[in-house]
Symmetry: C2
Subunit: 84 residues, 2 copies
Amino acid sequence: MSFLDYFRSQRKRSANVAKERLQIVVARERATRGGPDYLPELQSEILKVIRRYVEVDQDAVQIQLDREGDCEVLELNITLPDRH
Amino acid sequence: MSFLDYFRSQRKRSANVAKERLQIVVARERATRGGPDYLPELQSEILKVIRRYVEVDQDAVQIQLDREGDCEVLELNITLPDRH
């Protein structure tokens, strides 16, 4: 399965209203435990970069951080304003 | 299915060698056609941000851009050097 299929399959969960949405996922698999945990900082910097391209309301961003074993996943779901 | 499951399921495709890997996905669903296509530029800026946290070889980055209907997906797969 490609990410495109995954992304499209998620659409059903969101409201039926035609809105523009942006999803940014940063996933990391570590070979060994330890090392700095830079994902939260990376996320905030990526959001800054995105804001240079589109207007993003603070409350339009949903952030989720999942950890399981040696995998960490940071997910940002952004609903873009209609005017874009 | 969560992205974590998706990310873990992809592991089978990569080599069995224990390497650290990083995946960054930027997906966009447009309500209407048109508007600027900022995904490639956004990708290059995100890569710059990542380089501030980890050392990334130019040839360790695989970039894929998929388009289907109103969805665009930009996928960056990075194999990190062992020393990280």
